[in-house]
């Protein structure tokens, strides 16, 4: 299964997205990397790296992020943890995470799920 990492400035938000993604895909390998070590708001290189390592397998990892330093810090983690099948995805956080969780459990590959997340960028809520 493709692993999933949720990066957010807030630990609560990252854990909340993990919770929501698991509603329909309880067995998906997913990890939250939210906030700083001491629980304050921000993004932590160490937390992101640890989360990627936790869910990493040969099936790859998709990383969903909130904004700003979450994007830049994840980029730096990816430069160091340099594997072609670990990707940061540019799409809405909640919708992207739910879709990836469901499709990962359904057996889709990283490349297949990547294609599907493209639609998430433009899907309207109503």
């Amino acid at each position: 299964m493709v692993g999933i990492v949720i990066v957010s400035h807030s630990q609560k938000l990252a854990e909340g997205v993990v919770e929501v993604a698991k509603m329909m895909a309880s067995e998906v390998p997913i990890a939250a990397a939210g906030g700083l070590e001491d629980g304050s708001l921000g993004t932590s290189y160490e937390k992101i790296l640890a989360a990627v390592e936790k869910v990493f397998s040969s099936d790859g990892v998709m990383i969903f992020v909130d904004m700003g330093s979450a994007v830049m810090t994840t980029e730096m983690v990816l430069e160091d943890f340099n594997r072609p099948n670990v990707r940061m995805i540019d799409c809405p956080l909640v919708e992207g995470a739910i879709l990836a969780a469901v499709e990962s459990v359904g057996g889709k590959t990283l490349e297949e799920i990547l294609k599907l997340t493209e639609d998430v960028r433009t899907t309207k809520k109503f």
């Binding site: 921000g42 810090t73 980029e75 730096m76």
Partner: protein, 209 residues
């Protein structure tokens, strides 16, 4: 500039950031989330703690060490941005135990390019680049014009200060402040201000010598 001088500069930067922590945070309160000073002070405190372990390292390794420390402790956008800047500067100074004027320029240029790359930003977007780009340009021009390094850096610091003033007149298009659109007008950018402080601290150390 030898290794000792570089370490003295890093230490002076750390002290200045700590001293100006509340001011930087107040600036970030106005157009951001009010943590820039807290973020950088946390980062440079961890840098300062490492300084004693760097005494026998070359300048490239030291600057890389500063970058690594900032990336893992700052927590806000300035972490990956300044982190990348110091790491790129470190690459340029690899194996060096002494920096001539042209080495310093090359390191600053690599740092500025690193910030542009990481932030996908250019000059004029109300970021740290609005202090650093004019400083780099002015430093180069004044060295080429025959000024000695300290004189040239002094004019470059003035250019950075003018850049900080300029950020009051423009709308942020990168970073958190960009959400405020025209409400970011009239406020100076916290990141440009911290960049100016780093250059000022560097100049102060070099003037002492």
């Amino acid at each position: 500039m030898d290794t000792k001088k570089i370490l003295a500069i890093i230490s002076a930067v750390a002290k200045k950031i700590e001293a100006e922590k509340n001011f930087l945070t107040q600036l970030d309160n106005e157009i951001g989330d009010g943590d820039h000073g807290i973020n950088l002070a946390r980062g440079f405190k961890s840098v300062e703690e490492k300084i004693p372990t760097w005494a026998d390292k070359d300048i490239g390794a030291i600057l890389k060490g500063v970058g690594t420390q900032l990336v893992s402790t700052v927590g806000g956008a300035s972490g990956p941005l300044y982190g990348t800047a110091f790491m790129k500067a470190g690459n340029v100074c690899k194996g060096k135990n002494f920096l001539a004027a042209e080495d310093f320029v090359a390191a600053l240029e690599a740092a500025v390019n690193g910030i542009k790359m990481r932030g996908k930003a250019v000059e004029g977007e109300k970021t740290m680049l609005d202090a650093l780009c004019p400083a780099l340009k002015t430093l180069k021009e004044n060295l080429a014009g025959g000024k000695n390094f300290v004189e040239a850096l002094s004019v470059a610091v003035d250019a950075a200060a003018a850049g900080v003033e300029f950020t009051k007149t423009i709308i942020a298009t990168k970073g958190r402040a960009s959400y405020l659109k025209e409400r970011s007008l009239g406020h100076q950018d916290p990141g440009a201000t911290s960049s100016l402080m780093m250059l000022q601290a560097t100049l102060e150390v070099l003037r002492e010598a």
